[in-house]
Symmetry: C2
Subunit: 587 residues, 2 copies
């Protein structure tokens, strides 16, 4: 049979009349289109290729959107978007950017939530189911969650509650035996056992949690999937349907290297090699991994802890192998990563926990209670906490600075260049006094061989990188070089601005601030939202003095798929704009 004309598919209604043969052809056509887009455009490769058949079967069997499907992370929803009115975004290069990489209610009523953090789908779906029960509805409620996402605590909480609903609640576990990298956790032995026994093993995590259980061994076979989904449709109790799927299905290079093809930039379909060749630019992830790996060899008690995103912190497979038992991946379990670090430090190990800004939000309480309250000398490296971080609304790195710097006893360092970052890392690995957060600067790696390195970063100590008078420019992290540019502009207008690197944002160097009391203007700029951040502490400190204070940074808002430089311009954060603000304020 020839390929299906994909552009004729405007909604799931268009596939519900098809026979299985047609659905199989549909899957083949969708896979071809997806491969073409992924190759040319990049995106989540493995998760989507593995779920084409299941998503077709879901929309075939269930009466979407009345029946409700919540996809965990929702990075596997390209096939869902293809079937729900957004085909063009996958077949026409001119429309590739019409859709986001995640479900998005602004795009379609078939998308229930904007989500991108893992492990929340079961909880969200449990709310939909409970609302249905309170209102007397009868729709099916379905959560789709991957095996990797099961390691997150909120997934457990959702499953635990969902089991008590006593009504229709269908949890599809999409088990491809992979997280972003390999899985870590005790539950994965049980998932393997279930796969190996065709779902018949007595030891069954899901039954132990109160669910009925079904297993589909051929999770990429539309016939098996339809049969199973039909059997659980309108079921009146909670059930887990465990699918054994193949991540990267249909793309040999992705099937062979699942970690590499979890997400990929544009790549050659045959070789799997990225189109953009040549030396990739130096990244803070590599700088971090190289230094910490070297240190591990001198310090057997040094452990790097990560929560399911090893590649994002510079620890690809070969470095993980090199680190051996000194590299700990706890699964997608940020709370565990942070609380475990407290235990590691308490017993004299040297934990270095590396997390992405957007995901560490899961562990606020552990930072507060297990680390800060207990004064445990663990080191935390925060990646992507920057306007130059991840630009999806679900993955913003705008909030960690205020979140962490307002926790008592937690030292939050904000290096401005690679030399300072590595010096702070080196100091923190060695000290046994304080919990330390080091927030990696945003954007391309910056080198400043003239930066002043300290032996001890434990006390607030401003670095005056340019002396001056009347006006002080405090540039936090990423914004130090911006403030240096501002200073140059102002100097060329006859002003003599001081430029300050505050080095840390959790306390104020009041001695230095006091020396600015005869200044006319202080401008702070930070790489995060202004509200609750660093600058407002400075403004408050000078609340009763004559010196004017202006706090610059990002507004408190969610923005989606923004261009960093455009956003900075909108927020008056370019050097030209800041210089203009300074000049007009001083008038």
């Amino acid at each position: 049979m020839e390929n299906i004309n994909l552009s004729a598919i405007k909604s799931p209604a268009d596939i519900r009349q098809m026979d299985e043969q047609q659905l199989n052809v549909l899957a083949r056509s969708m896979r071809e289109a997806l491969l073409e887009k992924l190759s040319a455009h990049g995106g989540h490769v493995g998760p989507n290729l593995g779920m084409i058949e299941a998503i077709i079967a879901l929309h075939y069997v269930f009466n979407t959107p009345e029946d409700k499907i919540v996809y965990d992370v929702s990075h596997q929803t390209y096939p869902h978007k293809m079937l729900t009115g957004r085909m063009e975004a996958y077949t026409d290069p001119a429309h590739y950017d019409d859709v986001t990489g995640y479900t998005n209610p602004k795009e379609s009523d078939y998308d229930l939530f904007s989500l991108g953090h893992t492990s929340s789908a079961v909880s969200l779906a449990s709310g939909l189911a409970k609302a249905r029960d309170l209102k007397g509805g009868n729709e099916n409620v379905i959560a789709v969650i991957g095996d990797g996402s099961l390691s997150g605590g909120v997934a457990f909480e959702g499953l635990d509650y969902g089991a008590t609903l006593g009504t229709n609640f269908i949890v599809i576990v999409n088990d491809n035996d992979m997280s972003i990298a390999e899985n870590h956790g005790g539950i994965y032995a049980d998932l393997r056992l279930l796969r190996d026994t065709n779902g018949t093993a007595d030891n069954n995590l899901f039954r132990a949690m109160g669910y009925a259980y079904r297993y589909v061994h051929y999770g990429n076979d539309i016939h098996s999937l339809i049969e199973m989904f039909q059997s659980v449709k309108d079921i009146n109790y909670p059930v887990v349907v465990h699918l054994n799927t193949m991540k990267g299905m249909g793309l040999p290079v992705a099937e062979a290297d699942k970690e590499k093809f979890h997400y990929s930039a544009p790549f050659d379909l045959k070789t799997g090699e990225p189109f953009l060749q040549g030396e990739s630019p130096e990244g803070y992830d590599d700088l971090f991994a190289i230094q910490v790996l070297a240190r591990m060899k001198e310090m057997p008690e040094l452990a790097v802890v990560n929560a399911g995103t090893p590649g994002a912190i510079g620890f690809g497979p070969s470095r993980r192998k090199e680190a051996g038992s000194q590299f700990v991946d706890v699964g997608i379990a940020e709370q565990q990563a942070v609380a475990m670090a407290s235990g590691l430090a308490k017993s004299g190990a040297r934990p270095v926990v590396a997390l992405a800004s957007t995901f560490l939000q899961r562990a606020y309480d552990q930072f507060c209670q297990d680390i800060a309250l207990n004064h445990q000398p663990a080191t935390f490296i925060v990646f992507y906490g920057s306007v130059f971080g991840i630009n999806d609304e679900t993955h913003l790195g705008f909030f960690d600075l205020g979140l962490l710097s307002n926790i008592p006893d937690l030292l939050v360092l904000t290096p401005t260049c690679k030399e300072e970052f590595l010096a702070m890392l080196s100091w923190s690995e060695s000290q046994c006094e304080k919990p330390v957060v080091i927030r990696v600067p945003g954007g391309a790696v910056r080198s400043d061989s003239h930066v002043t390195i300290l032996d001890d970063y434990s006390r607030p100590s401003f670095d005056i990188v340019r002396n001056g008078s009347r006006i002080a420019l405090i540039g936090v992290g990423t914004f130090l070089p911006v403030m240096e540019q501002v200073a140059e502009k102002l100097a060329s207008n006859g002003l003599d601005p001081m430029v300050i690197n505050p080095r840390e944002v959790s306390t104020l160097d009041t001695a230095c601030l006091d020396s600015l009391r005869n200044f006319d203007l202080i401008i702070t700029a930070e790489d995060g939202i202004v509200d609750g951040g660093y600058g407002q502490k400075v403004a408050s400190y000078f609340g009763t003095s004559e010196v004017k204070v202006i706090n610059l940074g990002l507004p408190k808002q969610f923005v989606d798929r923004y261009d960093a430089n455009e956003l900075l311009k909108e927020c008056n954060l370019t050097p030209e704009q800041i210089a203009e603000i300074a000049t007009s304020t001083l008038k």
Copy 2:
């Protein structure tokens, strides 16, 4: 045999020579002493009475403190403290207050962490075990966790990781078939099955998570406990030891009403009645529960969601029964409570989630991602977010204000009296536009029949409760009446201060603030830490104006078992002190 002379027990070494008969007498003597203290002093009754035997057996078998025990929540550690050098605090009324209610490393090397939030012990212990393995140690590492605490996501994350350690890791599950109130969650059916089958059921949550499994049916029998602990001592793989214990063991009223005697104020040992009789003062918890219960009857889609602390939000057993399926207890699972609310709101139900300030810290990410980013009109009631909240360092309510008010699109209301609280609650239950947090004022319930009630709290709108000139006093929540007292004092000194109730702290009423630009001084006071809070937003707003701004509130620090009024005095927050600050600043 006569009672043991408890004061002779200075450390676990003193019980390790005892025979079982002596240990049984020891348990009896400890229980008598505990009952006497609990009756006279109050405290966690049920958890401690239920664990006397297990804690004796642990210290008898294991070589503490070299072998390490981490107690979850640590509210069950009174027997542990009795055996580890702090007996006097349980036998001599003059020393009752020498110890905190939780483990505390400042008190003893036998206490590894200061902790009071649930579900973290396994994670903390996993860090201790990993550190041991990195450093080549051979001590036993033991986590003690209750069945209720298993419902928290971080407990799952810890168990999931712990199973992969491959070395000595002993998890004692203290199963008394109760959380603070009854348990909720799918796992509890499995725990019951395991108890009912003497641990032999095939469906075994712990085995499914990768643990070896042992069961002790008589979890209050020292002989059985010693035998079991000896059998797992020095084990070289992860094991769960499941104890079937009796909460409140040995106090008939506590065995009969486990919820009432989870924690109790001083009470009569025979009747169980509290010594302080008479009408208890009106509380915001009751006000909340009464109003929301009445509303439930008109709105079948209204659901109150709570995470394992129903009594603390006014929902004792009878109100829970009255609310029926409209009251949801998700277990000690704040992430689930908040994420589920997103699903409830999405499908048109009206969720009202009530949480304690200190515990909602667990759900920051769900507030940010599942609620705010998705604009779900759920209502959140924050209890104990105040200096007048819970005064243990582990349970401070100082941080929620900054935490929540800096999340985009989340409206954080700060009522100042019961009339305003109930009006805001009523409005929020009805509206379908915004996620709303209502932060219950601290201290005794305050009535102000003159408070201006709005039909709509969705837009920032200052309430000028006293008109004035030159000086404006902005009192957030609990601090409005304080500011009114300040105003009286200042007025009696010839000043004419304005007093403002900002009503909400997530946005500024810039129109009103702009009208203050010709004022000399604005003082803000808020019931939380200053850093990252409301006042600093006001200071920042006026950063370039002539008006002086002073931000008052709590310093960024952990304080333990503080006296609220003393703390306020230390922080310059009494009306007299604030008036003095105003006067001296205006000079």
